[in-house]
Amino acid sequence: MSDHHNTDDSGPAARVKALEALLTEKGLLDPAAIDAIVDTYETRVGPRNGARVVAKAWTDPAYRKRLLADATSAVAELGFAGPQGGHLVAIENTDRIHNLVVCTLCSCYPWPVLGLPPVWYKSFAYRSRAVSDPRGVLEDFGLELPSNVEIRVWDSSAEIRYLVIPQRPKGTSKMSEDELAAIVTRDSMVGVAKVEAPRA
């Protein structure tokens, strides 16, 4: 972690410290709860949850159907719920359609299944280009799609968050649900990558 440019009193680190001290003194904040939230979002909530959802959808057709019909309820079945988890919509990649998720306004993202968004997701570069040049953005991520694959861009908002169900890679038919969950990446659930089968 770098903190090099925040050492003076007017820097953000000092402002946050002052804010936390003031709010704690006024009884509005509990510092222990702040620690717990930081720990939760740094280490506990993350894309592993979403990976389990995807792996189950790949292996359980009835679950996949429920997920596509009502993703919020389907992820809650697996125990994943919490702030920014409502109004979740699952969108499925196929041979002809590739889905890409962005939040052009700021950073809307389904926390319970993907954790907090990565730095690039919040960047001006990604937000401004995902809509105008999705194919170029995917190429930046190293993903070149055949020209007959339609790219659909989904703009997240307070009302709707998206979870991409990537395509299950070929050569994974013998893998268990747990093994499959281990190969599903965050990037594939935002739509900037495909899931690769493990090398034999």
Binding site: M1, D3, L116, V119, D140
Partner: protein
Amino acid sequence: MSENALNELIEAARLDPDHVFSAPWEARAFAIALQLSESGYFTWDAFRDRLIAEVRASDRIRARDGTSAHGEYYDHFLHALEKLLEEKGLAHS
């Protein structure tokens, strides 16, 4: 914005995929906003509206002059939080 600004961020994410905060203060600011909203001092939607306003203002400048000197995401986040607390009268000792 440099031509390959996104490439640099993608490369950084490859090296450290779990990285969501760039400095401890970003995590603290996030947690403060979340806890205050969960305690009912404001709604997350109200906070997000301010965040969007900050991000938009920054985007406009960046689209015009290409600089990011006015800050990155969590700078906007902190500004939004400070403004909201000011509006709610919660920021005075």
